[in-house]
């Protein structure tokens, strides 16, 4: 069993399906969690469900001041940030030829820029503690590409290179930096697909089902734990076999 008793974890995008499941898994393993997201109501609801060791630290990662304030707020609430899960992400899909500068910039800022800034901010404490875990949620499309998602795929692929660079810088200090790359996961986002679209997607997934937020949370839990101390700079693909990379 993975035991995270005494560890403090900041999870961004905790108001969403995947982020919420990640926070629940870390919390169930004994960690204190700081739940971040733009929508306060679902964060409060989750914190209420989790009970003790759950803190709400709302932040809109599109706002640079909020990004700067978040690590401090989380550290104040919990005492430290030992585990950072960069899960928050947005999409602004559009065909490449129609994509505006704004759509490009927003996705790169939130999905890549904020991860850089949050990670940089928590490193100091992790270096001193000689222990830390950073887990970045990327996506299968960062590896495969996807029509209509030039911005999103660029940001997600960028996370992988950034994580590897940081991983090699801080490995000697007991800090690991890894990515989890979900495939198609059942969330509010994929609920909107019609049956035709769903069956087409399922046709590409050898396991024959969409993933669940719990599938992703299990991968994050491992990479956030002492059990994964010898794993760094890696990307764990959790996609039911739809892309074996």
């Amino acid at each position: 069993m993975i035991d995270l008793t005494g560890k403090n974890a900041l999870v961004t995008g905790a108001s969403g399906g995947i982020g919420g499941a990640i926070a629940e898994a870390l919390h169930a393993a004994g960690a204190a969690v700081a739940l971040s997201g733009t929508r306060e109501a679902p964060l409060n609801e989750l914190a209420g469900k989790l009970g003790e060791r759950a803190h709400v630290v709302p932040a809109n990662l599109a706002d640079p001041e909020a990004v700067a304030a978040l690590p401090k707020a989380a550290a104040e609430a919990m005492g430290s940030v030992d585990i950072l899960v960069n899960n928050a992400g947005i999409t602004r899909d559009n065909l490449f030829m129609r994509m505006s500068d704004e759509e490009w910039d927003q996705v790169l800022d939130v999905n890549l820029g904020s991860v850089f800034r949050l990670s940089r901010a928590v490193l100091r404490g992790m270096m001193k503690a000689r222990w830390g875990r950073i887990v970045n949620i990327t996506s299968v499309v960062g590896t495969t590409g996807n029509p209509g998602q030039g911005n999103y795929a660029a940001a997600k692929a960028g996370l992988v290179g950034m994580s590897k660079s940081l991983a090699s810088e801080v490995a000697s200090r007991g800090i690991t930096v890894n990515c989890v790359a979900p495939g198609f996961i059942e969330t509010a986002m994929t609920d909107k697909l019609n049956d035709d679209q769903k069956s087409r997607i399922l046709g590409q997934i050898p396991t024959g089902r969409m993933g669940t937020p719990a599938d992703i949370a299990a991968a994050v839990l491992y990479l956030a734990s002492p059990a994964s101390g010898y794993v760094t700079g890696a990307t764990l693909h959790v996609n039911g076999g739809m892309a074996m990379v």
Partner: protein, 77 residues
């Protein structure tokens, strides 16, 4: 040596695990004391904490030797 120099020396000895005799004013953290670039970042963090000061990045870059650190801290506290 001044009090500040003694405290700097102690931090360097503890952090880099080097002999006290080697930590002289002219000793370069990287060339003489075996520090890597991340060690120098950590040393600056340790100095900031010990002396309750802020060492901006551009100043940190100029701190190459034990003497540089003592001089900077003397001017900052």
């Amino acid at each position: 040596m001044s009090d500040i120099a003694d405290r700097v020396k102690k931090i360097v000895v503890e952090h880099l695990g080097v002999d006290e005799e080697k930590v002289v004013e002219s000793a370069s953290f990287i060339d003489d004391l075996g520090a890597d670039s991340l060690d120098t970042v950590e040393l600056v963090m340790a100095f900031e904490e010990e002396f309750g000061i802020e060492i901006p990045d551009d100043a940190a870059e100029t701190i190459q030797t034990v003497g540089d650190a003592v001089k900077f801290i003397n001017g900052a506290v």
